[in-house]
Structure formats: C-alpha cells, structure tokens
C-alpha cells in the first residue's frame, strides 16, 4: 500500500510539474509578453523599448530559468540600473541586501496581478472561498439526488420508472451548462416564464439566499446528476443480477430489504469514483456558470485573467485547477481501494 502511495504521489508531482511548465510556456509566449509590456509601459512604445522593458523586468532570460524562478528553485532575477537594484524578490523600497534569494510558488510567493493590482494568493483565496460555497451547495444537491435516481432506476431494470428516470438522465447529460443555464434563466427569471428567481448571482457574493443561488446551483448540478445517476444505475443493475441477491430473494427476504441491506452498499462503490472524478468536470461547469450568472468566484477570475492577459494570476489559477484535478484523482484511487475489498495492492 505504501509503495503504491509513493509511486502514485511521484507520478502526481511529475504530472504537476509538466502541466505547470506547459502553462508557463503558453502564458509566457513572446506575443503575450509584448502585450504585457505595452499594457504596463504604454501602448505606443517601440519594439526596442519593449525589449528593454522585458530585459529590465526579468522576462528576457531563458524559459526554463524563468520557470525555475517562478517555481522558487532558481534564485530570483536582479537588475542593476544606475545604482538602483531591482529584482523579483525585492519589494519596492526594500534594501536589496536583505531580500530573499528565492521567491516562487514554493515559498508562497504567487506574484502580483497586473489587472486587480493585488497579490495573486490573496485574490485566489477569496475567490476560492466563494466558489467553495457554490461547490458545497452543488454537491449537497447533486449527490443525494443522483444516487436516489440511479438506485431507483437500477432497482428494476426495464420498468416504467427505470425508463422515465433514464430518459431524464440522458436528457440532462445532453444539456451542457450554458444551455441549461440559459433555459433556466428564461423559464424562472424573466418575464417570458415564471419570474421567481434572480438571473444573476452577483448579490450572492454578499449574502446567499434561495432566490439568488438556486439557479446557478441547479445549472451545475443538473449536468452532473444525469451522469452520476447513469453510473449508479449501471452498477445497481449489475449488482441486482448477482448470485447473492438471488440467494437472498430465495431465502425469502423482502424486495425492499434486498435493495437496502444487500444491494445498496455494493452498488455505491463505483459511483464514489465517478463522483470524485466529477470534480474536474465541475470545474468546467463552475467557469461557465460563474460567467453566465456573473458570480465572481474562481471560474470568473480564471476567465478574466485569461481575457486580460494577467499572466501571474492565470498561472496561479492554473496551479489551483491542476492541483484540484490531481488530488481528486488520487483520492478516488485510494478511496476505491479502501471501499472495495476485492482489490488488493501489494
């Protein structure tokens, strides 16, 4: 088990390094840097001035060195200009001699957002908090509903209930967030339909109410519900045809008890993995829904960072996104081993 964990963690770290390097490369392409220089130093500067600005701000060194600086394993750049030393780790007004040598993500220094004019780490912390709230409610709606639908549908395969619920699940998986969001807004937040909810969730950032938070939560949850319900149904139908279920039925256990006592526990192992692996998908949904409902959480920050060429913030967001994906993969692997006694890892 320990060996498995160590190997899994090593792969994870390697994946994270590769992915952040790719993101770093893609966000630090020459055209992006040129745009950054023009937005920081004035849009009418000449090519030579752009080059000198990049040189002065440490963007001219080789890519791997810059990546190392950003990560915190290579000493930060310094630049001397007329007796004034500036550098990656030297804050304005600080004596260069007292500055740290390394300042990167590993040291907790995530950089400075050029658009929001604030530290990336503090921006991401606030935004993640808002998204965390959204995610919590999504999970609270999605998991029970989808498991219930899946179990009810898989209980009696081919019954009318199964058909209706399966059609419902197929329909929700066929409806991406930007479609269901638009339909929900039209139906429940405009004059065209029944105006009970709000079509924007901006006010939910201060105070969450049923009125302003129901639609965004439902928009994200709906897409996941269908998928998890279908997985649960598949696993449930498989369990219901197993030998031990037939034995229990032949023993004279009532149908209700067979489902609750014998089938349910084994049928819920597979959906656990699916639910954990849904997190990366939810990330997608979060970005779309936060943009649609103008809820300024993590997804909204990612979109605005990408749209405004805010390199440091975008890098920070990517690190968080990649981290979320990898950690959920790890948890789902480990959890599966714990839940399923048939799997042994030596």
């Amino acid at each position: 088990m320990l060996k498995f964990l160590v190997r899994r963690l090593a792969t994870m770290v390697l994946t994270a390094l590769c992915l952040t390097l790719i993101v770093f490369y893609l966000t630090n392409l020459p055209p992006n840097l040129e745009k950054l220089a023009k937005s920081e130093a004035g849009s009418r500067i000449s090519d030579a001035e752009v080059a000198s600005w990049l040189e002065k701000n440490g963007h001219a060194s080789p890519l791997l060195v810059r990546y190392g600086e950003w990560l915190g394993v290579v000493p930060g750049w310094t630049h001397e200009d007329g007796g004034v030393t500036t550098g990656r780790c030297i804050e304005r007004g600080q004596d260069p001699a007292t500055a740290r040598r390394y300042c990167g993500v590993l040291q907790g220094d995530w950089g400075f957002s050029s658009v929001f004019k604030d530290n990336v780490s503090s921006i991401i912390a606030t935004r993640l908090g808002l998204t965390g709230l959204l995610m919590f409610w999504v999970m609270a709606v999605m998991v029970p509903v989808s498991l219930l639908i899946g179990v009810l549908a898989g209980m009696r395969e081919g019954s009318k209930l199964d058909r209706s619920l399966s059609t419902f699940s197929i329909a929700t998986t066929a409806t991406p967030e930007y479609v269901s969001g638009v339909i929900l807004i039209a139906a429940f937040a405009t004059s065209m339909g029944w105006k009970v909810f709000k079509g924007t969730a901006t006010s939910a950032m201060d105070e969450i109410t049923f009125e302003n938070f129901f639609l965004p939560v439902m928009t994200i949850a709906l897409y996941g519900i269908g998928y998890i319900a279908r997985m649960t149904r598949a696993s449930m139908t498989e369990v219901m045809t197993a030998q031990y279920i037939r034995t229990a039925r032949l023993k004279g256990v009532s149908f209700r008890n067979v489902v609750i006592r014998h089938a349910l526990r084994n049928a819920l192992i597979a959906p656990f993995t699916v639910i954990m692996l849904q997190f990366p998908w939810l990330l997608n949904g979060v970005v779309i829904t936060e943009t649609l409902f103008n809820y300024k959480g993590f997804g909204w920050t990612l979109v605005s960072a990408a749209g405004n060429n805010d390199i440091q913030l975008l890098l920070g967001c990517s690190v968080v996104a990649v981290f979320v994906v990898l950690v959920t993969q790890l948890i789902s692997d480990i959890g599966y081993v714990f839940l399923n006694p048939r799997i042994r890892i030596s």
Binding site: P31, K160, T175, A186, G299
Partner: protein, 475 residues
Amino acid sequence: MEALTWTGSLSLLNTVVLWLSAAFALVVLAQIVLSFFAPEPTLRANPDGSVAARGGAYGASERATRWLFLALVALALVYLAAGAILPEGSGGIIGAVSRRLLPVWISLVVLFAVSMRFKRRLGLYGKLFDSTIGMIGFAIVMFWVFTAIYADLIVTRDVLTQVSQMKNKLPGTPLPDGSGWYLLGGDHLGRDVFSRMIAGSQIVIIIAPFATVFAFMVGITLGLPAGYYGGKLDTGLSFLANLILAFPVILFFYLLVTPEIVETGMPQYLAVVLFLFPIVFLMVLVNSRFYVTPGLRNQLIAAIAIVGGYFYLSFVGEAGTRVAILPPSLDLIHMPANMLIVFVSVVFVNSPTVFRIVRGIVLDIKTRDYVAAGQTRGERPWYIMIWEILPNARGPLIVDFCLRIGYTTILLGTLGFFGLGLSPESPDWGSTINAGRKLMTVAQHPAIVPAFALMSLVLGLNLLADGLREESLKD
C-alpha cells in the same frame, strides 16, 4: 402584414393538445406509482384460446400511456403536415417553419422508408430500427444532418443582414417592407434568429464528426500498440494521455485558442502532428493486409501517399503563414486560421480519451484464444492489431463514437460561448447563445432557439448511442 401566432389557423387543436398532454402526464405518473404494487407479469391463457398479458389498473395505465403517446405524436404530425400544405402564413409560426423544412421532412421519410424496408440486410444499422430509442435518436440526428445539407434552401434571410426595426422582435414579426416574417424573431442586431440557427447547424455538422474521426484515428493508432505491446511504450503514452486529461478543458482552450497563439503558428504545428495520424493509420492498415502481395501493396500505399499527402499539405499549410508548403496555386483547400485552431484543439482534447478506451479494449481482447491462434500462425503484430483485434472492438467504439460527436458538439458550443476561435459574427450555436444571454431580460428567444437546437442534437446522439449499445449487446 400581420404578425404570426404560433399555430395560426390550427389553434383549434391547441386545447385538444393541452388536454391530451395533461392526461398523458397523469397516466405516466399513475403507471410509475402503480408499478410499485403491480403483480409480476403473468401470461394467462383464457379458456377461449386467447392470451391476456396483464390486467388490472396497471395494465390499463400501460395501454393508456401507449395510446395517448401515439395520439400526441399524431397531433404533432398534423401540425407539421398541415403547416407544410397550407398557404404560407396561415399555419402560424410552426406551420411556416415546417414549410421551410419541407426538403428535410421528405428526405427523412424516404430514408426511414428505405431503411425499414431493407433493415434485415443492413447489419447493425438495420438493427437500429428495432429499438424505439435508437430510432428516435437517429431521426433527430438525421434531421440536423439534412438541415445542414439543405441549409441554403431553408434559410429565409441572409444570416448577416441587419434590419434595425427588427431588433429583439418577438417570433412571427413581419418585416417592415412586407417581404415576409422573422419566423423565430430578431436578435440584438436585428438579424433573423431562425436563419442563423439553421446556418449554425452547418458549422456543427461539418466540424464535429470530422474532428471526432480525427480523434479516433489518433487514439486508435496510438492505443493499439500501447495495449498490445505494453511495457515502456504503454507507460510513456499513458502518462502523456493522463497529462492531457488532467488539464482542465476550459483553461486549455483559453491558453490555446487566442490570437497570440495563432501568431506563433502553434496550432499549425499541432495540426502537422495530428493530421499525420490518419495517413499513417491508412498506410499501416493497407500494409498489414497486403504485405504478401508487394505489387498491389506498393500501388495502394503510393496512392494513399499522393492523395492523402496532398490533402494533408493543403489542409495544414496556408500561404502567408508559418507553415506554407504548397504554392498558393496548388493549395485549393483554404482553412481559416481560427477554424483550424478550433478543429485542432477539439481533436487534441478528445484523442487521449479515445486512446484510453482503445487501450483498455485491446488489453482485454489480446488475452483471447483467437489472438493466440494468430500469433501461433506467425501473423505479424500489426495484422493482429488491425485485422483481428480492431474489428472485434467495433461495438464499444461505435457507441463511443456517437457519444463523442455529442461531446464535441458541446465543446464547440463552449468555445463559442466564451467567444474563442470563431468570429463573433459567426452563426454557430455557441456564439449565438453567448450573444443572446447578455440580453436575457429584454428578449429570450435569441438565446433559447440555438440552446434548444444544440440540446436536441446532443440528445439525439446520446439516444442513438443508447440504441446502438442495446442492439450491439444483443449480438
């Protein structure tokens, strides 16, 4: 000219439809509730020789559901058929839309009639017509395919023409010059929502299946050897696939589909790599089959190299960009840079998943006896992979292909929704939803119409995949 109502002179039928739908919903609900208490179905032989399947309240609700459903379908057909026959304008909006879609209806009827007639001779495709779900899915998908084919006949207006009086006008509003109606209303710039929706189907129907085919070629070409040989090759390729899969899709799109990246030529380099796979796949396919007859094989390979190579160079290269191989006079296929990048990024996102599926199936199939028999006969690895393993993996792959086209459609919509890649003028569904959602409080139809179009296509593909899965499991 007067504004059109939804059903025009057929509005007499509306109350009937309303009552029937209410009754249908009620009966379905009753059937679900009753199914908890219903006795197991028993086949009872009556003394007079007839056989009764299921009686009682449950049986009654079952029959009622069937008949009510058929009645509703018949009424929907009446609306569509009457609209197509009645003179323009008197069938309401539904009638007028149905009239515009006449070529699609005719094609669908012909296709279904022919397929049903010869379904026993058509293999898996024919079996599809045994499953109701599969047929419904197939009908929806073919509806959109035919709509894309006849799009130029169906559209009522030019998709870019703006009529300032028609801004955000409701469905059925007549044009100020009296030349017709905006059947599904006007958008925020006064363009015809109906025509844009129809024209948008063309973009999706062309890009989504092609991108999926390319993703499958890449996934199969890499997944077969990874699963068959295993070892270092498998470890390396699987790591790469997991790397791409761990990348959040939206972030990837935002990083790759930007004007800056197009400037660096990156999408074209990616295209250079990805588009090579279909040619490699075809060559390996031919080579492994005709290895014993070198003459024929060499001719076929040369043909693939010339024809495929031309399309490859013509697709990838574009005069005046970083990758310009063919001279402009020979380069007949012009792929706009932003279209190419959308295509490439969708293929790139999809191929690792296909790779994983193919690899998993190969790992399973290679333990079968017929593979061992092939190895004992001395067949070469690629022959076994392509001609023995791949045909036996077709069931799950075909099902996944349908699902993946739907997923690709969703991805294309996502790109449009974020305004990435395609131009904002473009009538594709994602971009129109994005434009419409900003004015949802003023007018809802500009966003709702493409939203329903996209949903129905993806739903059709999912239903089709479900039907195919059911039928291929019966084999």
